[in-house]
Symmetry: C2
């Protein structure tokens, strides 16, 4: 079982997934980055970043909420809907004076906006005369959020702090890796369940239902959390594209099924892709599978600290050279802690032009998915960069599965 | 089985959930609203609104994408990632010249932004000299999206078109109601599954796994789709707040469990809340349950066309007057078609100050959830406003369930 840290300095005992000192270290790194960028107040709206800073965990990101990191204040300030304040008390290390709930008439209203509430918090301590970093391209920071802050805070220099916290998240702690290993054990069960469930005459939705149950049931030792992306499992012609799911249709002999699935524990993921063929695999698919799996193997063997993201992609390209396989899109990305709609971190992408240097404890989903006119093929691996190479999280055969 | 419409005028045969004429009617209403607001081009980024206009259905909203409605062009233009273009071909009624995929180097890049691509589309037809409506407070329209459009389109008058499409979605067609009824059959199975699964010694995650499977397995006639909100099912002290989920913990005698669950079919929802008590219910909980259920019953009896949203809330308040129950937050909202993170439509809320008049075929989740210091109680109903009253979608006992 994963150890948990109870913070007992608060009125309510919160259940945290990391030691207090780990949150302090994260906060120190964030403030260091803020200092370098000239940001005195950071408005964190990405739910994964909120969790990273404070521990906050709840499905409440459908209303505006966030965490304010003030460069010279010890505790960040959580703000959100009043009815979620107890959620903040139960899942964060913050004391009550750092938990600010807004009244319900701010919710989905034309008359009031939650960023007015944020502006009021800043004004009451004179922080509106400081520079304010915002996560400009985060899903949960809308155009309206930006407009309301500008309107309410004419004295404030608003700066782009997009991905500031994500770039700190990119290097995982040992405890984070431990949770990603737990998620990996789950996804092995999930993938096995999917491959067993798929077969002629089975409704796609029935297979998907079993996949979901396996994700949440987890292992005998621990259960799983919801994944930031649903099970992606198109079949037949729907495998020609990247992000479709199941239907009412029954699988038929001759179907191909793409599986991009994940395990998740304490919001840390283990994504994994495999492909299933129901019946005899066409020669073209067999050829593609062979090339992609060999390319994946060589690419993983190449990954080590000191190489750049684009060099990894270049290695893939060399490995598949001379084959019919072509891949226009990136072949992988950093992943870890996340909430819907994405388990990717939006930092490093394995593609031409990405000059970022890989470092130990970066975690990558190496995902050379192929989607061509009539069908697709996927075989991926989540990996961790180690001190002198890389290791995979998951133990699952890299092959085209025939049912 | 639900009828489906195949559009065979295209190169690829798309599977659509509504007849072509229904999409045309939606588009007509949207253009009418655009005309009234002086909007010549509408940028639709809300995934539910994209689906409503075009049929597009895929888990690809973690990259920027959208549908452009041009007031004098017959077909809207879908834009998204190149690898999702086949998804657009397979799920929309649009012809190939209206499907525009961007290259992968736009994805999560500091160098290029997808709104640059959108600006290019507008410029190539001179539409950049027109007024452009954007969904200012939609999750998927970020501050950066707004900034990039402003930078790229100096001649364009950018206007707030937030909820323009949502307000059209608020009145459901007969076919939409049919899908919501299908979702209601699913949620009955889901809630029954949850209540049966919960008991002393059961891991919360094992109960949640069964709930997920029931959501997707659906009914013998059809399977279910993923819900826009995960199963919300906190227990014990975690019932004091609104949006927590399961843990590894085993249920114990004396636990209370809140269940806010949903069925979903073709992206149309049926949300439902109930509360389970494991063991003997404390007197305080029994009292609250009685008051809330009686208040819910009276509120539902009151709902009819012509009354305002705030009058419905007022009725609830009268029904619980004199009891110890207090409810600060809204007691319901419009719902229907949606994607994560919310199944609510962000239009009408049942709360003081909401002067919107209820009309036939509006669909509301009447949800007077109570979260107090130590615990909570939930009992809700999804309802449809009829020509002279309202009817419930779901047939499930309104009571505190004792295990």
């Amino acid at each position: 079982m994963a150890p948990r840290q109870s913070i007992i300095t608060k009125e309510v005992i919160a259940i945290m997934y990391f030691e207090f000192i780990e949150y302090q270290e994260r906060l120190r790194k964030i403030k260091e980055a803020m200092y370098k960028q000239g940001i005195e107040v950071l408005l964190v709206t990405d739910p994964a970043n909120m969790n990273y800073v404070s521990g906050y965990d709840g499905w409440s990101f459908y209303v505006h909420q966030g965490v304010l990191v003030i460069i010279d204040r010890d505790e960040p300030i959580w703000f959100g809907r009043q009815q979620d304040s107890n959620g903040a008390r139960l899942t964060t290390w913050l004391n009550d004076e750092s938990i600010r709930g807004y009244q319900d008439d701010y919710v989905q209203s034309k008359l009031k906006h939650q960023m007015d509430f944020v502006a009021d918090i800043l004004k009451e301590s004179g922080w509106d005369r400081r520079s304010l970093g915002v996560e400009m391209d985060n899903y949960y920071f809308t155009g309206q959020c930006l407009e309301q802050l500008r309107k309410n805070l004419p004295q404030t220099r608003i700066m782009d702090a997009n991905l500031l916290v994500n770039w700190i998240r990119v290097i995982k702690s040992d405890k984070e890796i431990e949770y990603m290993i737990m998620a990996a054990r789950i996804v092995e069960n999930v993938m096995q369940t999917a491959i067993e469930a798929i077969g002629p005459g089975v409704r796609e939705g029935d297979a998907a239902g079993k996949v979901y149950q396996a994700q949440i049931r987890g292992t005998p030792e621990y259960t799983g959390d919801y994944s930031a992306i649903i099970p992606i499992m198109p079949s037949g012609i729907r495998t020609s594209t990247a992000h479709l799911s199941w239907t009412d249709r029954k699988y038929e002999t001759g179907d191909m099924v793409l599986l991009e699935l994940s395990g998740c524990k304490y919001r840390y993921h283990a994504p994994l892709s495999r492909t299933v063929m129901i019946g005899k695999a066409p020669a073209e698919l067999q050829d593609i599978a062979k090339v992609v799996i060999e390319g994946l193997n060589q690419t993983i063997d190449f990954i080590k600290p000191g190489v750049t993201a684009e060099e990894v992609e270049q290695k893939w390209r060399e490995a598949i050279a001379g084959s019919t396989v072509a891949k226009e899109s990136r072949i992988g990305y950093c992943y870890g802690l996340n909430y819907p709609p994405d388990w990717g971190e939006h930092t490093i992408s394995l593609r031409p032009g990405d000059k970022n240097v890989l470092q130990p404890n970066m975690t990558l989903h190496v995902m050379p998915g192929i989607w061509i006119e009539k069908f697709g093929f996927e075989c991926s691996e989540p990996v961790r960069v180690t001190d002198n190479g890389c290791e995979t999280f998951v133990n699952f055969a890299r092959e085209l599965f025939i049912k």
